[in-house]
């Protein structure tokens, strides 16, 4: 905190209107195991400072991994110089919405601190997980297990007087199982994680995840290509969660709304989806992968209502976009680390559950496709278009799940799709993910029940 406070007071002396400094120290472990061979095992010790300066409505930002006095001073002066040079030309001056600065210490509930667990125990966990997947079937050709954890200290000091200290801790495990039979290949990825100490690995059941990944990969070997066209689609919790995050969540980020790079621009209060659609971006979700009590600007976070029964209710805001849109800030600014400026980001984004069972969604689907999981996806938030590759697909014929399908993708127009959601199941689930924006990757949760979409575009080969 001393370095952060020093950096902020130097900014004030230079003449900054506002400054905040984040100083972090992070210990991390990344292990990647391919079948029974450790491919990568890396222990990291990161430290650094990020300084943000507002001068006459213009931003400057600086970061340094060296915390020596002269390097800190050079970085702070560089950030100030950048702000000052920018200020000469900015027409629209950045303003920050008012908040009451908070002084607080936040500690994750940690039983087994990550940094005190020896590396060999973490390596052993990865190995056991891999073995569990490998022994499911002879056709499992490769298994990759990625173990990651990070823990450390963060502090934030602002020129308005906020002082926040945190001791974050998180861990996750990802399993990729590949099954092979002749020329046929099936790949499935399963992952889970939590914000807690090393004890979290008892709660997320890595061995169960490993078995599930392997079993699904083997099933994919029977899959046949899907015909392209428009179908009634049922998306599972993972794929629907990715849709909520990528297609709707990104468009509800206020920075995209302001720059016009969002189909949800000027739509607050208007209908954007069917009556069944309610969506939140929720930083307070218990133990959530994307949860936090304060955001990277030191603003207390909340559960943000984005869509209520089909009507757009709000956006995700940082202090600057809140001021610009004349709204109350809701704690939506996040930075990957000290080395990045905070930007408007999602936390845990989800569609709420409906009242149907999965079977009820299937009933009455004469010809459709059931899509499960996601190999990733991207959107154009301006045009409101999206494309996601599903991990698995199953043909639906006369209300029954019939043939497994391979390499299926879902694409379409975000708003059209939200209106075409005509059924939600009661089987809500939240999954973990990583979200990239502005060159930064942050942990986000993505949740949904099974959803049914009329008239959706399915692509294959």
């Amino acid at each position: 905190m001393r370095i952060a406070e020093k950096a902020v007071s130097l900014c004030e002396r230079l003449g900054a209107d506002y400054a905040d400094a984040r100083v972090e120290r992070t210990y991390s472990t990344d292990i990647r195991l391919m079948k029974d061979t450790f491919d990568q095992v890396a222990s990291g010790a990161d430290q650094g400072l990020g300084i943000r300066v507002l001068y006459r409505g213009a931003w400057g930002f600086g970061s340094s991994t060296s915390l020596g006095l002269s390097d800190v001073s050079r970085t702070v002066r560089g950030a100030f110089k950048a702000a000052k040079a920018t200020a000469r030309h900015t027409k629209e001056k950045a303003r920050l919405a008012e908040i009451s600065p908070v002084k607080d210490v936040v500690r994750a509930t940690v039983k087994d601190p990550m940094e005190s667990v020896p590396i060999n125990r973490k390596m052993k966990l990865a190995l056991q997980t891999s073995e569990e997947a490998t022994k499911v079937d002879k056709r499992i050709a490769s298994v990759t297990v990625t173990y990651s954890d990070s823990s450390g200290e963060t502090c934030l000091a602002t020129s308005e007087g906020a002082r926040l200290t945190g001791r974050p801790s998180r861990g996750s495990i990802v399993i990729v199982a590949v099954a092979r039979e002749g020329a046929k290949v099936g790949t499935i990825r399963e992952r889970n994680g939590m914000q807690a100490g090393f004890e979290l690995f008892e709660r997320i059941d890595p061995l169960g995840l490993a078995r599930r990944a392997a079993e699904k990969a083997v099933k994919l070997l029977r899959a046949v290509p899907v015909p392209s066209g428009r179908f009634t689609v049922i998306a599972d919790q993972k794929l629907a969660g990715v849709f909520a995050h990528e297609a709707v969540g990104h468009a509800s980020e206020a920075d995209h709304v302001i720059t016009g790079e969002s189909v949800l621009k000027d739509k607050v209060g208007k209908r954007v989806g069917s009556d069944l659609v309610t969506m939140y971006d929720d930083s307070t979700y218990p133990d959530g992968w994307g949860s936090s009590q304060y955001d990277s600007e030191g603003v207390p976070t909340k559960k943000r209502l984005i869509i209520e029964k089909g009507f757009l209710r709000g956006y995700i805001l940082n202090r600057e976009t809140a001021a610009e849109l004349n709204l109350d800030p809701n704690g939506g600014a996040r930075a990957q680390s000290f080395a990045y400026r905070p930007v408007v980001r999602m936390s845990n984004t989800y569609l709420t559950a409906g009242g149907h069972s999965f079977e009820e969604l299937l009933e009455g689907v004469d010809s459709g496709v059931y899509l499960k999981g996601s190999r990733g996806g991207q959107v154009d938030t301006t045009k409101g278009t999206f494309q996601f590759s599903a991990e698995e697909g199953v043909l639906i014929e006369k209300g029954q799940l019939t043939k497994p399908l391979s390499d299926v993708s879902l694409s379409g127009l975000t708003l059209e799709t939200l209106v075409n959601i005509d059924g939600l199941a009661n089987d809500f689930q939240i999954n973990i993910g990583l979200c990239g924006k502005a060159g930064q990757v942050v942990a986000t949760g993505m949740g949904s029940p099974h959803i049914r979409i009329k008239n959706a575009v399915v692509g294959g080969k």
Partner: protein, 459 residues
């Protein structure tokens, strides 16, 4: 007390390592962000760190351990070395792991340092940003402009206990512009990028003009009939597709583990006869040029695909030792998703500058040859490609219809499906408009616009 490369190596050996290697980068970067038609933010960044790798010899074979630090204090470095040595001791011995890179004569450094860049001030970049904005905003239909300008310089150093010791300095200068147009309820999007090791401000201004022109031409798109089309692909799209498929498929580590469809295909025809793909670390001003790779192995020019025939996989010291062949010097430190400093990563394998041999004529000449096709600037979702099978299914970004040699209208939404290396056999034409685009830290694609024949396009 602060540790140097040499003292860190000594510490590794003292704590039980048979061999040790320290890779260090120290970079200073500066960039500006353009948002909402104005220069919004200047940033400065200092990033330095050391990646420490140890090798512990065992009865049969050896193991490695890795850790990295950005704090060079003796305590932190010692802790990091201890973790790396423990990791190496716990790992089962790898009988194919013989040694880190042996000492070899280094190659000459290509011209990759522009002395104007360390002297650049944030206000210089702001001036460039303002010129870009002016260029992009000429048309009244332009509604939103965003972009960036970045300049950076740094030094990469490596040393190991086998006597390797070297460093080189490089610079970087790049930017992009993203333009949205609106007219009569229709929205058009256009973008363009430019990357070099040298200060080329005028190129960035051209980028802005091109992005705006594309965005205007993308207005009022029409749907495309699904079917088979000849697809003309520009460099940015090609780099994205290559990085997520072919580049991974020519990695010797993946090939040795049977995770590449090219395994066992050296000497076989994998592309049409007009495809020659080199890895060339000697190209002046190229982002991937460097005298040695991230293990200290000297780099040199070599063909990967020569007139359609697969000539080599890309190796690092481990994969080369495993097969008992020459190391191609392709040890690189990068990740596929997100950004991470090179020092924080263990070496894997990648190309330096992937150079696709140009054909004849300009991009317009190439388009004129196409009867029934589309022009594609980029892909959405290339990272969802399946490296092992090579299958991909991609949404297309910035698409124009080509009919009888003419660009006729912008296309609404379309997808292609295909297979890598399968489509290499369908490359029929290449223009001579060679350009470099980045594929990741220290990696570039230097390529013309190409035409891939008869791809299946779904609307």
């Amino acid at each position: 007390m602060s540790e140097t490369l040499d003292s860190a190596i000594k510490r590794c050996i003292r704590l039980g390592a048979t061999q040790a290697e320290v890779f260090k980068t120290d970079e200073v970067g500066m960039n500006i962000v353009i948002e909402k038609k104005q220069v919004k933010l200047g940033q400065v960044k200092r990033d330095r760190g050391m990646g420490i790798r140890v090798l512990v010899k065992k009865d049969e074979g050896a193991s490695t351990g890795f850790s990295y630090v950005t704090d060079f204090s003796r305590t932190t470095v010692t802790e990091a070395v201890e973790k790396a040595v423990t990791t190496a001791k716990v790992k089962r011995a790898d009988k194919d792991l013989k040694s880190f890179q042996e000492k070899a004569r280094t190659s000459k450094v290509a011209n990759i340092f522009d002395k104007r860049i360390p002297r650049t001030d944030p206000s210089d970049l702001i001036e460039i940003g303002r010129s870009m904005l002016e260029e992009a905003c000429k048309d009244s239909r332009v509604s939103t402009v965003s972009g960036s300008v970045h300049a950076g310089f740094g030094e990469t150093s490596i040393a190991n206990s086998l006597g390797i010791s070297g460093s080189y300095k490089s610079t970087a200068f790049d930017g992009h512009m993203y333009v949205v147009t609106e007219s009569g309820g229709s929205v058009g999007v256009g973008w363009e990028t430019h990357s070099s090791t040298h200060y080329e401000s005028e190129k960035l201004v051209a980028v802005a003009g091109y992005a705006a022109e594309t965005a205007v031409r993308q207005l009022n798109p029409r749907p495309l009939e699904p079917g088979t089309y000849d697809v003309v692909v520009d460099q940015d799209g090609l780099a994205d597709l290559f990085m997520n498929t072919l580049v991974q498929q020519v990695r010797a580590d993946l090939a040795q583990r049977n995770q590449s469809p090219l395994t066992g295909k050296i000497g076989s025809e994998i592309a049409s006869g007009n495809v020659t793909l080199m890895d060339d670390p000697t190209v002046p001003k190229a982002l991937g040029s460097k005298p040695f790779d991230s293990e200290g192995c000297p780099t040199r020019q070599r063909p990967i695909v020569e007139r359609g025939i697969l000539r080599t996989f890309l190796h690092n010291s481990y994969t080369a030792n495993k097969e008992g062949i020459e190391n191609t010097g392709n040890s690189m430190r990068y990740i596929m998703f997100g950004t991470r400093s090179e020092y924080a990563l263990e070496p894997i394998i990648g190309p330096h500058n992937l150079v696709l041999k140009p054909g004849k004529g300009g991009r317009d000449d190439l388009i004129r040859e196409v009867r029934n096709g589309i022009l594609v600037r980029g892909f959405i979702g290339a990272h969802t490609s399946n490296v092992q099978s090579g299958d991909f299914s991609l949404a297309l970004d910035c698409v124009f219809r080509i009919e009888n040699g003419n660009l006729t209208f912008p296309v609404k939404q379309a997808m292609i499906g295909g297979n890598m290396p399968g489509i290499l056999g369908q490359i029929r034409l290449a223009a001579a408009n060679t350009r470099q685009v980045t594929m990741g830290p220290g990696m570039a694609l230097i390529s013309p616009t190409i035409m891939i024949e008869k791809l299946t396009v779904a609307a």
